[in-house]
């Protein structure tokens, strides 16, 4: 069970993780994009951290919506509307909840993925964040349906996200800025897929404790 305090804690840890990986994500984006992914997300999540005290007693739905709106209004670029929409859509279906069970977590990711797809019009295999998020979600669902613990399920989800990131190295980008590189995008991992993977790492780590 994850209560709203835990959600706040996880969000804070995501912000930390992104901050630590600011340069790494930026360098990945420099190779096939415009070199700002880490800078953008870090700016956004730092703004989120500043907002957290104002929502510390709120329900999880409100928390996620606030995170989403903050990301939308501070990140910019492609990843801002996408991550922002993902959090906002997830928040919309968690309205009023003060804690989450396994099935809530699946719902969150289903909504997040739908939001990203509607906003960005991309599908899996186009070398985007979806190539990490979708397999991670599928692993999570599979494990939870099998009866694995949340801890194990998140660990499998992280693995799937990592594999997804590896997979992005092998394909041509057909969405986002990297698509302008054509063949030249092969061999590089997608920055957005990488930041998504990092979020799953935080989720896993937070449920290990």
């Amino acid at each position: 069970m994850i209560d709203h305090k835990k959600v706040l804690e996880i969000i804070e840890k995501i912000a930390e993780k992104i901050h630590e990986n600011r340069q790494f994500l930026t360098d990945l984006d420099a190779a096939i994009g415009d070199g700002d992914h880490g800078i953008n997300l870090d700016r956004g999540f730092q703004a989120v951290v500043e907002k957290l005290p104002t929502i510390k007693d709120k329900d999880i739905g409100s928390i996620l919506k606030t995170v989403g709106m903050t990301l939308v209004s501070t990140v910019g670029g492609a990843s801002g509307p996408l991550y922002g929409t993902a959090f906002m859509k997830a928040g919309a279906v968690m309205s009023g909840k003060m804690e989450l069970n396994g099935s809530d977590i699946l719902t969150i990711f289903e909504e997040a993925i739908k939001g990203i797809q509607v906003r960005g019009k991309a599908n899996r295999g186009e070398k985007t964040m979806l190539d990490a998020i979708e397999p991670a979600y599928e692993a999570l669902r599979r494990e939870l349906e099998k009866g694995s613990t949340l801890k194990d399920a998140l660990s499998q989800a992280e693995n799937a996200a990592k594999e997804g990131v590896e997979y992005t190295k092998t394909i041509i980008a057909t969405k986002g800025r990297a698509s302008y590189l054509g063949e030249r995008s092969i061999g590089h991992q997608d920055p957005g897929a990488t930041s998504s993977m990092l979020i799953f790492t935080v989720l896993k780590e937070s449920c290990e404790e």
Binding site: D34, G35, G77, R177, Y180
Partner: protein, 330 residues
């Protein structure tokens, strides 16, 4: 990184304030937002809003004013502005006749401007959008993001802006913007990369004898790398790409823009124009007007793009109409 800046996180703000302090007769800044609008709002006309990441100066704030834009939104360097910023611009410039968003085709720009349009429509503001995709370096395809929007965008600002200034409807202004988009093509190349202040180091590296072809305007690598050759050969290559994607015959009339990316001196841009002219001239294509300068830049990148716009009677007249902005005057 060698730059005349203070803190990297303040470049956008200080730059916009510096613009307003220099050109208060042209533009003002919306307090609390990185948005420049005309110093004197003109009511009762279709309003034009454009923008994108910062780092393209004089785009886009330099094109706000009579006969061109009504508002320009500036994101962080090379990062699309967020929807709330764009929304604020839309609200500020709307004069009751609706607002046209002129968006360069980048996933981020398209999504952020679309979200802003949704917000504006919820407030009852009529919003239309056009997406500029003039960059022939990128092969367009149904299955990809499509072509980028680059320097050709300025012709969209100019021509749609001129029609809006005359009092045309939102549909008419959108239609002429679409016409420009259908008839404009650009190709770019770089001699050096550029450095985003917050990143502190260049986006890519190039040796002394290499150039990057098919470059966009965000310091990203181009479509491929080649050995640096003389200017005329580079122009030949770019013109082949551009003209190969246009349907131009002898006696057709065009406008030309030789656009510097920020670090290339006018001397070189004029040397480029010297050959662009000859290539078109030899094919019997008539150059109606030429613009040479830094219009759509990538911070301090050295390199240039060439834009060709096929004209007709309507667009010729609108290109000739008065424009009085900081960076573009006709």
């Amino acid at each position: 990184m060698k730059k005349l800046i203070n803190k990297p996180e303040n470049v956008e703000k200080e730059m916009l304030e510096g613009i307003v302090k220099a050109h208060g007769e042209y533009v003002k800044k919306l307090p609390g937002f990185n948005v420049l609008v005309r110093a004197k709002k003109k009511e009762n006309k279709v309003a034009l809003v454009s923008g994108g990441g910062s780092g393209h100066e004089p785009a886009h704030g330099g094109f706000v004013g009579e006969g061109m834009l009504d508002g320009a939104v500036a994101g962080a360097v090379f990062t699309s502005p967020t929807p709330d910023q764009v929304f604020e611009a839309i609200k500020a410039v709307d004069g009751g006749q609706g607002v046209l968003l002129i968006i360069k085709n980048y996933t981020g720009d398209v999504m952020n401007f679309e979200m802003a349009a949704e917000m504006a429509e919820m407030e009852g503001i009529k919003v239309e959008k056009v997406i500029v995709n003039d960059d022939v370096a990128v092969e367009g395809s149904l299955y990809t993001t499509g072509r980028r929007g680059v320097a050709g965008t300025i012709f969209v600002h100019k021509i749609a802006g001129a029609l809006a200034e005359k009092g045309a409807t939102l549909e008419e202004v959108k239609a002429v913007a679409e016409k420009v988009i259908a008839n404009v093509r650009t190709m770019g190349m770089a001699l050096t990369p550029c450095t985003v202040p917050a990143a502190g180091k260049p986006g890519f590296e190039l040796s002394e004898h290499e150039m990057e072809m098919g470059i966009g305007i965000h310091g990203e690598p181009g479509t491929h790398r080649e050995a640096l050759v003389e200017a005329d050969k580079i122009v030949d290559h770019m013109m082949t790409k551009i003209l190969g994607d246009m349907d131009l015959k002898a006696k057709d009339e065009v406008a030309v823009m030789v656009n510097g990316f920020g670090g290339t001196p006018l001397m070189e841009l004029y040397i480029v124009n010297n050959h662009v002219y000859d290539v078109l001239n030899e094919k019997g294509i008539k150059i109606y007007r030429t613009f040479v300068g830094n219009y759509m830049t990538s911070i301090e990148m050295a390199g240039c793009s060439v834009t060709v716009l096929k004209l007709d009677e309507e667009t010729k007249e609108l290109l000739d109409a008065k424009a009085n902005t900081i960076a573009f005057r006709v």
